[in-house]
């Protein structure tokens, strides 16, 4: 944990500085490597092409398409994954019955499902959403199960002592107790969802940032490829920021270290 405290000014300038250095290193590499700018486009060329993509509206269109799929897949995974994780964490029987299946399916890469997904759902948003769901669902289930199992037993004694009903135990103990761990899990999972959406879009659909990257590669426009990568990175940065904000909710801040 970082214990030093810096002023907000330093905190907002520091990232700008590190990005400036990154761009500088990039530019220098382009100049001195001797590579063709078609193979390694420099920052300026990428910026120009980015503006081009923005003005034609295609960047916006692709970004929205990807965001749409990630959001759906991710929400569905959370909506089904968190309750299932709670059940597995609380019920011995459910965990004996279902855990082997979950751990059997978990290591199978979502990309291995692509052929099946295309056959089942055809071409379009659905197979991509399905793949993102698969990629996020298992990590969320496992993280929730672990979170429920590691709740301090004292809290359950308190619940028994104050005559909590089963419903109250879930509402007032289990759910609030796992929120900090869930936020961390979602923060990690959303990254996986982005990795998968790009891969899925390279195969199953005709839109999205993954499609933009693949299509540009086929046209040998590496500057467009880099535009796609930059947008994905920026969105990832922003999503992580939102997730960290969630951790600052006062009733959840007892269990979350800032990272």
């Amino acid at each position: 944990m970082i214990t030093e405290t810096h002023s907000t000014l330093t905190k907002s300038i520091a990232p700008v500085l590190s990005f400036t250095v990154l761009v500088l290193v990039w530019e220098l590499t382009v100049r001195f490597s001797g590579w063709d700018t078609n193979v390694l486009p420099g920052p300026y060329k990428v910026l120009v092409s980015m503006i081009e993509l923005i003005t034609t509206g295609s960047l916006f269109k692709h970004t929205v398409a990807s965001l749409f799929r990630v959001t759906w897949g991710f929400y569905l995974a959370a909506i089904f994954g968190i309750p299932l994780g709670i059940i597995l964490g609380r019920s011995q029987l459910a965990s004996i019955l279902l855990n082997p299946i979950i751990h059997f399916l978990r290591p199978i890469s979502p990309l291995a499902w692509i052929p099946l997904a295309m056959l089942w759902f055809g071409i379009g948003d659905q197979p991509a959403v399905f793949l993102i769901f698969l990629s996020s669902f298992f990590p969320i289930v496992v993280a929730t199960t672990v979170a429920v199992r590691s709740i301090n037993p004292t809290y359950f004694y308190v619940a028994a002592n104050f005559n909590f009903s089963r419903k109250e135990v879930i509402q007032k103990i289990v759910i609030p107790a796992i929120i900090p761990d869930i936020i961390t899990a979602l923060r990690l999972t959303v990254t996986i969802a982005w990795i998968v959406v790009v891969a899925a879009e390279m195969i199953a659909v005709q839109s999205g940032l993954g499609y933009l990257i693949l299509d540009s590669r086929n046209g040998l426009r590496l500057d467009y490829v880099m535009d796609g990568m930059i947008v994905i990175g920026l969105i990832g940065l922003y999503l992580d920021y939102i997730m960290r904000r969630l951790g600052r909710i006062e009733s959840a801040s007892w269990g979350i270290g800032q990272a």
Binding site: Y157, V158, A160, N161, F162, S251, S253, W254
Partner: protein, 264 residues
């Protein structure tokens, strides 16, 4: 109401660590006896301090009384009835904070009163208990925003708000700094004189037991038996030992009993 009686109370644990005999065969699980034939009676409204070496089963006894654990044999009656499970008549105050960290002080104190229908009445009552432990102004603070002593007081308020017959405190002052410890001790004594509830306190501190207890019960090493069960008929405040020779002698005796020969 708050009379407790144990008869030949025993508690054994099974040691699941497998041991092998000389031929390398696994021996059957070993049983460890923690409490052996405990016979104590706690009168209604009495404050009883339980002393004993670490690991002797004092906390186990408290957990059985709270309904969190069950005895292996023997019986334990509260107001003449067998314990069937945890109940808000016997509130347990945990060694490390038992406050729910995702709830404010107010919400924690509300736990025991959450089924009250009269909203205004409930509000007044919660406020009353928060003021009793001098936490007014901290109602909307979360436990991690409070000091250790304030956390204990908040938990005490939560326990008292249910109006239990028995308060069960497992080393309630451990981890507090010296002055906070003294102050909390004083507050518990005052609270006991004011409310007259039955209170069971497990402690390592002989002075706590002598200053607070109406009775002190000393346990032996495991398997625990009652080594001493003495009523302390001394008026409060009992601060200066050397002016109360009898208490001072008893103090030396207790130190010796717990294995310290030259107590300060």
């Amino acid at each position: 109401m708050g009379h407790i009686q144990t008869e030949n109370l025993c508690r054994e644990f099974v040691n699941h660590r497998k041991k092998k005999d000389e031929d390398g065969k696994f021996l059957p699980d070993e049983k460890v006896s923690v409490l052996e034939d405990i016979n104590i009676e706690v009168e209604d409204g009495e404050m009883v301090c339980l002393l004993g070496p670490s690991g002797c089963g004092k906390s186990t006894l408290l957990r059985i009384i709270a309904g969190f654990d069950k005895q292996t044999s023997g019986s334990i009656l509260i107001d003449g009835k067998e314990i069937t499970g945890p109940s808000s008549d016997n509130i347990f105050v945990f060694q490390h904070s038992g406050l729910l960290p995702w709830m404010t002080v107010w919400q924690n104190v509300e736990l025991g009163l959450r089924n009250m229908e009269e909203v205004e009445e409930k509000r007044v009552e919660i406020q009353e208990y928060i003021e009793m432990v001098e936490l007014d102004g901290f109602e909307d603070h979360y436990p991690h925003q409070l000091s250790g002593g304030m956390q204990r007081r908040a938990e005490l308020a939560r326990a008292l708000a249910v109006n239990p017959d028995i308060l069960i405190m497992d080393e309630p002052f451990s981890g507090l700094d010296f002055l906070t410890h003294m102050k909390m001790r004083e507050e518990v004594v005052n609270m006991h004189q004011f409310l007259g509830k039955t209170i069971l306190i497990v402690t390592h501190d002989i002075d706590d037991a002598l200053i607070m207890g109406d009775r002190v019960v000393v346990f032996s090493k495991r398997p625990s038996q009652v080594k001493m069960n003495r009523k302390l008929d001394f008026p409060h405040p009992r601060i200066v030992f050397n002016k109360q020779t009898e208490l001072s002698q008893l103090r030396d005796e207790l130190f010796l009993m717990l294995g310290v020969s030259y107590a300060v």
